[in-house]
């Protein structure tokens, strides 16, 4: 896991520090991905300033389709079904939380339960595209089904986060422990958000840590990764990234590929963790559905059993 920390040398660009073109792309990411903040994937990819705009132009037509949304719904439902077999955390009852705090924790969990599968699928799509670049001038077939509505869902919780290096020593220690245990390059948005309620984060982490090494947990993570790779290679349209465009990365090309592969490995555990934490509050059936569903007339992808 330490390897991954070393791979991620580029410091992700905070959303509030984005300027001009990057600020515009970050805005579009939130609109297209229907999310209230810009996650680590994009903030890390943004550290490749020449390639990132090209990458985004290529991602956008795929990410705003119903097929993409339903592929992510499929991953989310799969995660909920599989993670239910893992030991329960029961962290919620161990902390004296107020009514408003509970409401906000649930809303924050919904946010990540919605976005994490989308990040896994798009990372897999980008990974696949970089491994199989298209010829210059290749035009991907836009899927023939409808586009999803743009915009952050009205009731989505803002992606509010505690600073990566908080003043509180216990919180700093917990962040370090999470990072070390999960092999994270930086502390992920999910945990930084849960740190808004530090006592709750401590209770969650204390119970989650032993589950992470459970053989079934590792098996589920692998299943999710493979399912996303399957979506990328067989279900979703290819990104139009050509060899010429990849050359823009220069000597950083290997680094970019490693970073992207890293995301496809990190995200399945994050998806499972959010499901496990959410199971304290919600039923598996609830978690199988999208927290921010889009009404479609028919189903494109049937969830596998």
């Amino acid at each position: 896991m330490l390897f991954f920390s070393l791979v991620m040398k580029n410091y992700p660009i905070p959303e509030e520090e984005a300027e001009r073109e990057l600020d515009g792309i970050f805005h579009e990411i939130k609109q297209v991905f229907r999310v209230s903040g810009v996650n680590l994937n994009f903030r890390t990819w943004a550290t490749y300033p020449k390639f990132f705009p090209v990458l985004w132009v290529s991602i956008r037509p795929v990410a705003e389709t119903r097929l993409f949304e339903e592929s992510c719904n499929h991953i989310r439902a799969l995660a909920a079904r599989l993670a239910e077999k893992l030991p329960r955390l029961d962290a919620a009852t161990s902390v004296g939380l107020g009514d408003s705090q509970i409401f906000q924790i649930q809303a924050a969990l919904d946010l990540y339960h919605y976005i994490n599968p989308k990040l896994l699928v798009i990372s897999s799509v980008v990974e696949y595209a970089c491994q199989h670049p298209t010829m210059s001038g290749f035009q991907s077939q836009r899927p023939d089904h409808e586009l999803i509505p743009r915009g952050i869902p009205l009731r989505m919780y803002p992606m509010e986060m505690i600073d990566e290096t908080p003043d509180d020593a216990t919180l700093r220690r917990t962040f370090r422990d999470i990072q070390r245990t999960l092999g994270l390059p930086g502390i992920n948005s999910d945990y930084r958000t849960l740190a808004l309620w530090p006592e709750y984060l401590y209770a969650v982490w204390h119970r989650l840590k032993p589950v992470i090494t459970h053989p079934l947990y590792l098996e589920i993570a692998l299943t999710l990764r493979e399912a996303a790779q399957q979506m990328a290679s067989h279900v979703l349209p290819r990104l139009t990234i050509s060899e010429d465009q990849l050359r823009v990365l220069g000597r950083k090309r290997t680094h970019f590929l490693e970073t992207t592969a890293h995301f496809t490995q990190l995200l399945p555990p994050l998806i499972i963790n959010i499901v496990l934490i959410s199971l304290d509050w919600r039923s598996r059936q609830d978690l199988e559905g999208s927290p921010f569903p889009i009404e479609f007339s028919s189903t494109v992808l049937e969830p596998s059993t």
């Binding site: 107020g98 009514d99 408003s100 409401f103 009731r155 600073d163």
Partner: protein, 284 residues
């Protein structure tokens, strides 16, 4: 009481597509305490318990403030906040209440009293914004959209802490500053506060000036006389325009009079309650 303890007391209510966090304590005629900018319901934690002995006290965080909804995509003007408060009252089954507002919370209270008079039993405003007394220079600068990119959350809180010191007459009260600014220490909190500041609009009090004389409910205007943010001459003007009103000047108090003179403020509030909306029916 620490801000974390106060936060734990908050319950939540959905108002249309947004959520409002609030503290509720006590039983009796309802009293709603509305904070100003840049603070939240925690402002009232020093005095609300005393009021809750005979009243049902409700302390909401305005939209975009404290631990109410801080999403970036809705109006936070005092006009919108007044609508939110009345919708929230309806949701809680409160047809009428005594409304107490401080700073822009006073602006919200004045709008409710003038535009939705049926919802107000009695009105108390403390060092309130009114007429063209606002926004103050600091908030005008803070509300600039570019402020989001120019200052970090930690710098924003440092600047606000420095500026707000001028709102207290005693340095010992400055200890509560950490709690008052706690919800704004994250980037989301900072952005929300910037949006709140951007929503400050003089027109929303000037447009109700002609309605002030129509306020027919008992009204108390409490003012910390040493306030540098909202000078007392605005309070003096208010009591001339609102017929049923009385001005009480609170000595040795600045903007945050409930912290500078908590006993005196509480006493005036309780006296006013007893005269206007007794907690028990008066014996005849």
């Amino acid at each position: 009481m620490t801000w974390r303890e106060f936060q734990r007391l908050q319950i939540v209510s959905r108002v249309n597509a947004r959520f409002v966090s609030y503290v509720e304590a006590g039983e009796g005629p309802p009293v709603i305490l509305i904070h100003g900018i840049p603070v939240w319901g925690y402002l009232w934690h020093g005095i609300y318990s005393e009021l809750a002995r005979t009243r049902r006290v409700l302390i909401p965080d305005l939209l975009g403030f404290g631990f109410s909804d801080k999403a970036d995509g809705f109006d936070r003007s005092i006009a919108c906040q007044a609508h939110m408060i009345t919708a929230w009252m309806t949701q809680l089954g409160i047809p009428r209440a005594t409304i107490i507002g401080h700073d822009i919370g006073g602006g919200v209270a004045l709008r409710i009293a003038t535009l939705f008079p049926a919802r107000v039993e009695a009105l108390i405003v403390m060092n309130t914004v009114c007429y063209d007394s606002w926004p103050i220079e600091l908030m005008l600068q803070f509300g600039h959209p570019e402020a989001h990119r120019k200052i970090s959350a930690s710098l924003a809180v440092r600047l606000l802490r420095q500026a707000l010191k001028r709102g207290f007459s005693s340095s010992r009260n400055r200890n509560i500053m950490e709690g008052l600014l706690a919800p704004y220490t994250t980037e989301t909190g900072k952005l929300s506060l910037i949006r709140n500041a951007a929503a400050l609009n003089t027109n929303l009090t000037t447009e109700i000036t002609h309605l002030l004389s129509g306020i027919k409910i008992p009204t108390l205007v409490l003012w910390g006389v040493k306030d540098r943010f909202q000078p007392i001459h605005y309070g003096e003007r208010l009591v001339k325009d609102i017929h049923e009103s009385r001005l009480i000047r609170v000595k040795d108090a600045r903007h945050f009079l409930m912290w500078d003179q908590p006993e005196i403020v509480t006493k005036h509030l309780l006296d006013f309650f007893d005269r206007t909306v007794p907690s028990r029916p008066l014996m005849v």
